[in-house]
Symmetry: C2
Subunit: 416 residues, 2 copies
């Protein structure tokens, strides 16, 4: 048995115990974790300082160093996040539906934990705690494989989490860190079908595509977002410009940020300069088709075929003039990653058709795509945003970390 | 582009139209299909006669020939099944939840079709129509790959289905048959990630395991059932014997049939002869552990290690004496396929613990496992019984053939 298989088996055993834990037990564990994160933050910060030093030596970019770095304020925020998860309702045991059949069988469909959840992610130590807290609350054991740059930080914090679990009488193995951070260990985790019930990759598009393409364990794809804002001929153009600016610029690195604007030809000459008046505040680079170049002038970079499928994650925006609704929807259908898509219009039929016909996790009329988020949608938490259609679609909260089982109460029934 | 890719692309296009079809349109299509199956049954029967002749020549077993064979009565039953699907409520468009957020955004979670569903199955021509009808009702296009022994039958009936769709103004490509029945085409279908949203294998355990192990398209595993009946010390033994007989013998070839009985030592000497009084009516072969052999005598075949993991699908039963509840649940945890598991007991705590602790799609107290079925559970239909935890677990009806999308009505909201 490999070390990974041993960890998988231990997680499976631990999960049997955790699945039966009461809400109070799980909340005590989460509170103990939050307390320990504060009480033992010295250990975590020291390990993080070593990771940071090594990362600086290896030439890591400042933006990445910032993601890796911890300080007292960040740890306080992470601990507070764990307390918020403790305060959420427990999805496990909820009765989704219940019925009595003609033969007297009483059947309940009840929420149960998924089992053992694998998370593959990059060098963000906060993900380690966030993901573990959500999995624990939903009764799942979790096997975490973080990026090698955060290995010391992750090892330190996982020890804190496991001690806290043990302190309240739950198995340490409810949370475990994959200690081998080679490519081979990632592939082994993707094939760990005997012990993992689901694998959730969190990180860049490259990581997610690689996991989806190579895993035999069921995967939930999250967070790829080439999101469009479609400015319809009947749009309130000022509203459209404000929404586009918000969708592009309020946080360009996230998956619900807009990457492409489509503009009906009838309003392109009016709209594009209005949009630019906002976008220039952040010096947004526009990759435009010929018509956009014609309207906005020489500052526009000519768009290439790749631009229409690029998640910039930055102050860059693709722009294209379309003949009308059908071309816009066809274009979105061809280039969308199925994350979040918005139409800006005052036209009732165009709005309803867009909501019906565009196939994405979230479709919007007259609002910024930036709202696609577990907190904004009222789920109280988020483990990721699913862009697939199976199991969960859109922001995933605690319910999406559960499965169901049918519970049948009989009194001797046999089938004819 | 391969023929399969061309079919996948055509299905994707057809699905865009079908996803917008009203319930009335879809029901008209299903009614037209049912009518055409009767009106054109001569074509289907003729093709089936050719399949049957070829199967007989190649030495197919009588039980398999029976599965392959069609006649007027069977076709009438299949057409009636399609009418029943037409009569079911349409899951598409149902609002799962709806909310108004503090910023005034109105958010609905709405059921939408899954997209293009692939079905890989064996030589049962009725599956072709059943699966197509359920997929169409849920707004999904479907790509069917049946066994090569039923190829002529499937080709004939798919032509009837496609003509009926066209007759009511829906695209023919909502239903398509994979014409290449080689192993390579099955593998190509498992990798058709660009066009297939989900793949559902229907058939024997070998087929399902092979698809689950080799597919890159998301798979729903169905129908593997090593189901246990656990006779607890506090069972009503006569009820237990009747339930065991029903679970084993009412239809031994199906996945919800029992394959193994566990008996508490305290009641084994009383129970086993009572059970045998029923089971001998079907000359059930018992594969027993040493204690079962000691009680029932020389007619019992000594169980081997494989017996505890075998889905006999026949009048054969594994039997084992256990020390009590914990050993029984541990044994089920080790050997269950997660389908259906039952305890027979009058003890309240044992019953509740079994329901909580046994991890399966359906868990029973004092009833036969044979009830795990979409019709028996009130779903009105069934495309299969999922034994996995993601997306759907247990009998899958029309709702389980859908996904959801978030629909967001704004009035200019931007995110702070």
């Amino acid at each position: 048995m490999t070390l990974l298989e041993t960890q998988g088996l231990a997680a499976k055993h631990a999960e049997r115990r955790l699945a039966r834990a009461s809400m109070s037990e799980k909340n005590r564990a989460l509170t103990a974790i939050a307390d320990s994160l504060i009480a033992r933050q010295g250990e975590w910060l020291e390990a993080n300082a070593q990771d940071l030093a090594a990362a600086r030596d290896s030439g890591m970019r400042p933006a990445m160093l910032d993601r890796l770095a911890l300080d007292e304020t960040r740890i306080a925020g992470i601990a507070e996040g764990v307390r918020q998860v403790a305060a959420l309702p427990d999805p496990v045991g909820q009765v989704v539906k219940a019925m009595v059949r003609p033969n007297g069988l009483r059947i309940e469909q009840r929420r149960v934990p998924l089992g053992v959840v694998g998370i593959i992610y990059e060098a963000r130590p906060n993900v380690t705690v966030d993901a573990a807290a959500l999995c624990l609350k939903a009764g799942n054991a979790v096997l975490l494989r973080g990026g090698k740059e955060a290995f010391r930080s992750n090892k330190a914090v996982i020890a804190i989490l496991r001690d806290a679990l043990e302190g309240v009488g739950l198995p340490r193995d409810c949370v475990a860190l994959v200690e081998d951070t080679t490519r081979e260990s990632a592939q082994a985790m993707m094939n760990l079908t005997e012990y993992l019930d689901v694998l959730i990759p969190r990180g860049g598009a490259g990581l997610i595509r690689s996991v989806a393409a190579n895993a035999r364990v069921p995967v939930i794809r999250t967070g790829e977002g080439v999101c469009h804002i479609y400015v319809h001929a009947d749009a309130d153009l000022d509203m459209a410009a404000r929404i586009l600016y918000n969708a592009k610029c309020s946080r360009p690195s996230v998956c619900n940020a807009a990457e492409c604007v489509l503009i009906d030809r009838a309003v392109a000459e009016d709209f594009l300069p209005m949009a630019w008046a906002y976008l220039k505040n952040k010096s947004v680079t526009i990759h435009g088709d010929a018509e956009t170049q014609g309207i906005l002038g020489s500052g526009v970079i000519p768009a290439t075929a790749e631009d229409w499928d690029t998640e910039y994650g930055d102050y860059q925006l693709a722009a294209r003039v379309v003949s009308g609704f059908d071309e816009a929807v066809d274009f979105i259908t061809a280039h969308s990653t199925g994350h979040s898509e918005a139409i800006i219009t005052e036209n009732y039929t165009a709005a309803q058709r867009f909501l019906d016909e565009v196939d994405a996790a979230a479709v919007y009329v007259n609002a910024s795509t930036r709202f696609t988020d577990g907190f904004e949608f009222g789920l109280g938490a988020e483990i990721g945003i699913s862009t697939q259609k199976l199991h969960a679609r859109g922001p995933m909260g605690l319910e999406e970390l559960t499965s169901t089982k049918y519970v049948v109460y009989g009194s001797g029934q046999i089938r004819e």
